[in-house]
């Protein structure tokens, strides 16, 4: 291809179409490397906390709904298929198939977010939240506890949570000193924390209140950190899903205007790559968070 028949979508500083396509694709792959490194930091935090405090993962994961997680995995895998199909359709100039596939991909992405919404709201009801918002008190429901549960029970739980929150905030005030003391003991740092109330336990006073409940599962001291990790990992992933939806929507509108065909489909290809990464990260998140045992 000579300089003179530069197609309109080829920028002036590229020699030809191939050079531009190769550059764009390489740029996207490198961007995905940065995305992987961002999540790698979180996976690293996961590994370190799981190594030092395995009990909080065994305890915490029971509160996650495996069925919903599995359904979401299925939905995202399907969306990856439709996305790949869409890229193929763009390469073959099949506009109608491309639009259908992009539409289906967006639908799956929305479905994923809706399910995530139900999961999150269940956790808000139960008080199984991150860090100092963790106000879960009664352990009796343990493994069976899903996103469902009847309204009356939830209500009472929320009330219990409010009570506990007040107690818990008192505990927080003294918390810093306690932890500083335990920090100096290497064993409490690196050995698995005891399941009992030794060392630092923000919920210790509240546990006495829930004494009548049958202790099917002993609540470990740092249980709230599991939910911190859960929310930050799934939350960041969720943000990526939203960004993905926006990107897919943009190329959906552009393909409706006929912007892509077998000679030029780079944006579809690149958004596809991004979407596969978002899917792939979930493939790791699901077993690591939901299927701990």
């Amino acid at each position: 291809m000579s300089h003179h028949d530069h197609p309109s979508h080829v920028h002036h500083h590229f020699e030809n179409e191939t050079q531009q396509f190769d550059s764009d694709k390489m740029g996207m792959w490198l961007f995905l490397v940065t995305e992987i490194m961002i999540f790698a930091g979180l996976f690293c935090a996961y590994v370190i906390y799981r190594t030092h405090n395995p009990e909080i993962f065994h305890y915490g994961h029971q509160f996650l709904d495996k069925n919903m997680g599995a359904l979401n995995t299925l939905i995202l895998l399907t969306s990856s298929l439709t996305m790949a199909w869409g890229v193929r359709a763009a390469q073959l100039s099949q506009k109608k198939t491309l639009l259908t596939m992009l539409g289906l991909t967006m639908l799956c992405a929305f479905g994923f977010l809706v399910i995530k919404y139900f999961e999150y709201s269940a956790k808000i009801h139960h008080g199984t939240l991150y860090g100092d918002r963790y106000v879960w008190q009664t352990e009796e429901h343990g493994g069976e506890h899903g996103a469902g549960g009847d309204g009356a029970e939830m209500h009472s739980l929320a009330e219990a949570a409010q009570d506990a929150n007040a107690v818990h905030q008192d505990a927080m005030a003294g918390g810093a000193q306690l932890t500083d003391a335990s920090m100096k003991l290497p064993s409490s740092q690196y050995a698995p924390a005891p399941a009992g109330p030794e060392g630092f336990d923000i919920n210790e006073p509240a546990e006495a209140k829930a004494e009548e409940a049958t202790h099917k599962f002993e609540q470990p001291a740092k249980a709230h950190l599991f939910f911190s990790i859960y929310f930050i990992m799934t939350g960041l992933h969720g943000i990526h899903v939203v960004i993905g939806i926006i990107c897919i929507f943009v190329i959906f509108v552009l393909s409706a205007k006929g912007a892509y065909n077998s000679t030029y489909y780079t944006p579809v290809d690149l958004v596809g790559l991004y979407w596969h990464l978002v899917d792939l990260i979930w493939i790791y998140l699901f077993p690591l968070l939901y299927l701990v045992d």
Partner: protein, 566 residues
């Protein structure tokens, strides 16, 4: 600049001073601020970075002045904490990390490739805009009274500090993405836009250095991003990951932080080494010695940079085994660094050395970098580090690497490419004088801090009334700081006054053989009239001095690399 007496004839036919160049092609604020031209973006980066450097320098002067006396002179301790934090944060995130890649790299990288632009000009502009946003946010922090955590933002203090930590870390987060996008752009540009005759081993060494730097930017910076994001979430939502009060692990923050920030030191030094590799050959009028070794050592440093971060935590409760492993790995970094030093020295050996301004900074760099490297060894040694950790010995060591090495290379590069950027020659005498003044001032400032640190003066301390013996070292150090300030002001005057008073620069004032010297001065908007033929970038003899031109002219095509024994 030996004159042959005969007239030498240039083989380049394009005009040296075209009517229309990249500086005057279009006019107005938006023609600059929204330009896609890598040269204009480079120049804007240069102006912004030098502004930030001035700001960081003011804080440095305040610190040094405060330390003249053992008691309180101007600030109380709370203010002092903010002053050194802002000095560190501005210098690291706004000056040293973007300095060479974003300002000089943006300008010369496509020119060295004989290309029209970088691969993604819009992304390049976005990088710059993110930088400006980061700069504005840092200024906002300054307006809000500053932060007091130190530039390292260590938890748990950074979680509890009452200063605007979230704003400052958000600025660093955004600057991180600016840096990532620059790196991404450079990698793709170097991979995909090299001219057909430029194989990997015919690339100028600056490109090898920028490539290695870009790999680190791309892989390490996202980890800083997520770390700062976690810190912000920690402060806003109390998730507890880094907060011991909630059962979290503050040392994890240190690991995450240094997993980026140690490689970041190489984001600073690698491009500096690249600049020095270019300059040492040009000003010695000799082919670079050991091209492949210098190229490979850049890659080696990039790889090593990822596996030594633990040496920042020898005293943070790391296990003995980890300390030993990190100590041993840290020593290994000295190998590729020394390889470069020996190759530069050998390049100069029997060369015809031209002591122009950039070369003076280059020689200072080599002297300073040698000290910087050697004083790193006692810090990598576990036993001595226990004593030296967090003392002025560390302060002196990292100023020798970050300021004396990186910043000097940046200033050297600025003086080297200035004529190409602006089309004007600066006053050599004045600039040379400034270079000596800055170099001597630097060593006075920071050499005195080595004994001060071994005597035990801790870093970040404001008062040292109990140890009156330390005052003399502080005073010598402050004297040196003032010398540097005067030197930099003279250098700035020499450069700025050249814009109006300087004589027109020739095509190639120094005789470098890389492609950027083949275009006009200043370059035209699309860089080259005719796409240049890439040969050996260090065949400096293909350029001969011409009295008529007042610069070097290209007398023959540069010959292939293989003709030079290595």
């Amino acid at each position: 600049m030996a004159s042959t007496g005969q007239t030498v004839k240039s083989i380049l036919t394009s005009p040296v001073h075209p009517e229309v160049n990249y500086l005057n092609a279009t006019k107005g604020f938006s023609s600059w601020f929204f330009t896609l031209d890598h040269k204009r973006i480079g120049v804007m980066y240069m102006v912004s970075i030098l502004t930030a450097f001035f700001l960081g320098g003011v804080f440095a002067m305040l610190i040094r002045t405060e330390l003249l006396t053992p008691g309180e002179l101007m600030f109380n301790s709370a203010t002092y904490n903010k002053v050194f934090t802002l000095h560190g944060a501005i210098m690291v995130f706004l000056v040293l990390i973007p300095g060479i890649p974003a300002a000089l790299g943006n300008f010369v990288l496509p020119l060295m490739l004989g290309a029209k632009d970088v691969a993604f000009p819009r992304l390049n502009l976005l990088s710059y805009h993110l930088y400006v946003i980061g700069l504005v946010m840092a200024l906002l922090v300054l307006g809000l009274g500053g932060v007091d955590t130190g530039w390292t933002f260590y938890t748990p203090y950074s979680i509890n500090s009452q200063t605007p930590v979230v704003l400052m870390t958000s600025a660093a987060f955004i600057l991180g993405f600016s840096s990532i996008f620059t790196g991404l752009n450079f990698i793709v540009t170097i991979h995909k836009m090299r001219p057909p005759t430029m194989t990997w081993f015919k690339m100028p060494l600056l490109l090898w250095a920028l490539y290695s730097t870009a790999v680190i930017q791309l892989v390490a910076t996202p980890v800083l991003g997520i770390t700062l994001l976690l810190l912000i979430v920690e402060r806003v939502m109390h998730i507890g990951i880094f907060n011991p009060a909630l059962g979290g692990d503050p040392v994890l923050f240190q690991h995450f932080f240094w997993f980026y920030s140690h490689p970041a030191v190489y984001i600073m030094i690698l491009p500096a080494m690249g600049v020095i590799s270019e300059l040492v050959s040009t000003f010695s009028r000799k082919h670079i010695f050991g091209y492949r070794f210098i190229a490979y050592s850049s890659i080696a440093i990039a790889i090593f940079s990822f596996i030594v971060w633990g040496h920042h935590m020898f005293t943070s409760g790391q296990s003995n085994l980890m300390n030993m492993v990190f100590s041993a790995l840290t020593f290994s970094v000295s190998i590729p660094s020394a390889v470069k030093m020996f190759n530069w020295l050998t390049t100069m050996y029997k060369g015809s050395i031209n002591l122009a301004t950039p070369m003076i900074y280059t020689l200072s760099f080599m002297f300073i970098f040698a000290i910087a490297g050697l004083t790193g060894l006692p810090l990598a040694t576990l036993a001595t580090d226990i004593h030296l950790h967090d003392t002025y010995f560390v302060v002196a060591h990292f100023h020798y690497t970050m300021m004396g090495s990186t910043l000097f290379a940046f200033i050297a590069g600025l003086h080297y490419w200035w004529p190409k950027m602006t089309g004007r020659m600066y006053n050599q005498k004045l600039a040379r004088f400034a270079a000596w003044f800055v170099s001597i001032g630097f060593n006075v400032t920071f050499f005195s801090q080595f004994p001060l640190g071994s005597l035990g003066m801790p870093r970040r301390y404001h008062l040292y009334e109990a140890m009156p013996d330390w005052q003399i070292y502080h005073q010598i150090s402050t004297l040196g700081a003032y010398m540097q300030m005067i030197g930099f002001l003279i250098a700035a005057y020499a450069l700025i006054s050249s814009l109006s008073k300087g004589k027109l620069a020739p095509r190639n004032p120094w005789g470098g053989a890389t492609l950027e010297w083949e275009t006009s001065t200043p370059p035209i908007t699309f860089n080259f009239e005719d796409t240049p033929e890439a040969g050996d970038p260090y065949d400096v003899e293909s350029w001969q001095w011409s009295d008529e031109e007042g610069g070097y002219v290209k007398v023959r095509p540069s010959v292939a690399d293989e003709d030079h024994a290595e």
